[in-house]
């Protein structure tokens, strides 16, 4: 894919994050103000994991955040080490891919009742 398309997707991911990360951070961190019952309690984590809204939002967050973050990290690394394009692409690709696999496995496993 061309560099400008990758960059455009990075911006699209940013806009998605503004909405979905806003919801996620608000829910998890403003729990007292919003009256959310201990969001880190295992049973609450489990209940959320089996809810279709959270399943979809976690998957969207995972893809958008990993893409945006790894692309951003790649930009910074390339600026300081412009000669290492292939190595940086490989490193970013592998870390992003592994994180995506682990994250989506946890989210889907939780949804189907694990």
């Amino acid at each position: 894919m061309s560099e400008s398309k990758l960059w455009f997707l990075f911006i699209v991911a940013a806009l998605i994050l503004l909405v979905f990360l806003g919801i996620h951070l608000g829910y998890m961190h403003l729990d007292n103000i919003l009256g959310v019952n201990d969001p880190l309690d295992y049973n609450n984590v489990k209940t959320r994991g089996q809810d279709t809204f959270w399943l979809v939002s976690y998957l969207i967050l995972l893809v958008a955040a990993l893409y945006h973050g790894m692309y951003g990290l790649r930009t910074i690394l390339l600026e300081y080490f412009p000669q290492n394009l292939k190595f940086i692409n490989g490193l970013i690709g592998i870390i992003g891919f592994l994180a995506l696999i682990l994250g989506s496995y946890v989210v889907i496993y939780s949804y189907i009742g694990g």
């Binding site: 940013a14 103000i33 910074i76 870390i95 682990l102 939780s110």
Partner: protein
């Protein structure tokens, strides 16, 4: 790929550039912090696969002052990065920087035109951070 002649130093010395240049540095630092946190977050939350005991143990490990402070930094970084990023996207698409016009003395540059947006979003970020602190101490 262009040569970043100023290197790392260029991130910390704005020279004739304005406050937005320092926001750029903060945007990068907060971005690096957030991506590191995201990767850790994916690993830590995967402990839920081990059931209630493994989850309780993982949450127990991160429930100490150092991690709590780190989490607090993540919230600050997230709020700042999100709102500053919104500014970058809006100006990238040409909003809040005015239309091209013939320059007459005293010269106005686009940075000045987008500055009110910058102040507005940074005040919003501050409000978001204060609300987050309030929520933490409300517990």
């Amino acid at each position: 790929m262009y040569d970043n002649r100023l290197g790392i130093k260029g991130n910390f010395y704005a020279g004739k550039f304005g406050i937005e240049r320092y926001l750029y540095t903060l945007h990068r630092i907060s971005g690096i912090g957030l991506i590191i946190y995201l990767l850790l977050h994916i690993v830590v939350t995967s402990f839920r696969l081990g059931g209630p005991d493994a989850w309780a143990k993982a949450m127990g490990t991160v429930n100490n002052p150092i991690f709590k402070f780190g989490e607090f930094l993540v919230v600050i970084a997230g709020v700042f990065h999100g709102l500053n990023g919104l500014r970058l996207i809006l100006t990238e698409f040409g909003y809040f920087i005015g239309k091209p016009e013939r320059q007459e003395y005293p010269y106005k540059y686009s940075t000045l035109k987008q500055r009110p947006l910058m102040y507005f979003l940074m005040i919003l970020a501050l409000v978001g951070i204060v609300i987050s602190i309030y929520d933490i101490y409300l517990a």
